[in-house]
């Protein structure tokens, strides 16, 4: 089933878009490392090729921007070697999640601080969760 050139290009675009974002998943990276993909030269070349997603005109399609950071780290052999360890992947995952929660927590703290400030001036407000802004 031969597809036309534009469709082929579209498919390639989509598959590369998907794949590069998969790199944001540390578990997937661990999977790749354990199967030896990260040791193969063609794959390393491919990772280098994927760096084009850093350009703004391509980056705007990324839903998971964490993948770009992972992609940059993957250019280093040391990082690729370390990913074989499950502990390493777990650590990255944890840190990633903590970082991900950072802004939410910051916002929550701010709202709490704001609520505490207003407390003495008002009647004690009902215990309410901060509404999503």
């Amino acid at each position: 089933m031969r597809s036309g050139a534009p469709e082929q290009a579209r498919n390639r675009f989509q598959s590369e878009l998907e794949f590069v974002q998969c790199l944001a998943n540390p578990n997937y990276l661990n999977f790749l490392a354990q199967r030896g993909f990260l040791r193969e030269k063609p794959f390393v070349n491919y990772l280098k090729y994927l760096l084009y997603w850093k350009e703004p005109e391509y980056a705007k399609f990324l839903k998971y921007p964490h993948c770009l950071h992972m992609l940059e780290l993957l250019q280093y052999e040391h990082f690729r070697k370390e990913l074989v360890n499950a502990q390493c992947a777990k650590f990255i995952d944890e840190q990633q999640l903590l970082h991900w929660q950072h802004y939410s927590r910051k916002r929550t703290r701010l709202q709490q601080a704001l609520a505490e400030q207003q407390q003495p001036q008002q009647q004690p407000p009902p215990h309410g969760n901060a509404t999503a802004k």
Binding site: L17, E18, N30, P56, Y103, T108
Partner: protein
């Protein structure tokens, strides 16, 4: 003993000294002759006159030479004056040289800095993005909780800042593989991404695959550089045909 006066290479000093020597010799001869003539007859009658004449002649030569020497002295003085002038001019030129060098240095620095400035202007211009686009993008990645966790997130929530196994399987790449459907909350152990066969129609189901991609947006040159089989596939499975594999690369890759 007459030293040759016609030789031009001899210096004036030498000639003067030579002439003086001659005079001295002649004078001595004359005096000897006179002394002898006291005692005895002159061996040759005209010899004393000869010597006298020679003497006078030599004296005249000597005088001429002295004049020549004087002239030469004057010339020599002029030469010295001119040499001083030349020295002065030389030092002037050196001074100018120094100033020129300095000026060149200053200009070179200025030009270099100007170039650097132009470079950074260029760089800034290249990286400029409309604020609207940035805001749109920021909204996109935030609203989907891709970069900021949802406010009510607790451990156990399946949402993640990266595509989960479930999302990966639902995508285009995922459909190329035949994946078992076990696991918790869409998170499968890595083994689940096993080899599979290539299906036909692929439809993105999750928004992260970005269905609104324009056809003009092509990936950069993708030749046969990699020679790889994409991950997630069993290497022994020969039925694998990949969009990432080395099929005829689309030559319509115009870079923008």
């Amino acid at each position: 003993a007459v030293c040759s006066m016609a030789v031009a290479e001899k210096s004036t000093k030498e000639r003067l000294l030579c002439a003086l020597d001659n005079l001295e010799v002649l004078a001595r001869e004359l005096i000897e002759m006179l002394a002898l003539s006291r005692g005895q007859k002159l061996p040759q009658p005209g010899e004393d006159t000869q010597v006298l004449e020679l003497l006078v002649q030599r004296d005249r030569d000597f005088q001429d030479l002295m004049e020549v020497a004087q002239q030469q002295g004057k010339v020599h003085q002029e030469m010295q004056l001119l040499e001083k002038e030349v020295e002065k001019r030389d030092s002037d030129i050196q001074q100018l040289q120094k100033q020129l060098k300095e000026a060149e240095h200053i200009l070179a620095t200025a030009v270099y800095q100007a170039k650097e400035k132009l470079k950074s202007i260029d760089k800034a211009r290249k990286g400029s993005i409309s604020s609207e686009e940035i805001i749109k993008y920021a909204h996109r990645i935030s609203a989907s909780n891709a970069v900021c966790a949802p406010l009510n997130w607790v451990p156990g929530d399946p949402r993640r800042p990266y595509p989960t196994d479930l999302e990966m399987r639902s995508g285009m790449l995922g459909h190329m593989a035949n994946l078992p459907t076990n696991g918790v909350n869409g998170h499968l152990p890595g083994d689940a991404l096993a080899a599979g066969r290539l299906p036909d129609v692929l439809t993105p189901q999750y928004p992260w695959q970005s269905a609104d991609v324009s056809v003009g947006m092509l990936p950069p040159h993708h030749g046969n550089d990699f020679g790889l089989e994409p991950p997630g596939h069993n290497k022994e499975n020969e039925d694998d045909v990949e969009a990432m594999s080395t099929d005829s690369s689309s030559s319509s890759s115009d870079s923008d």
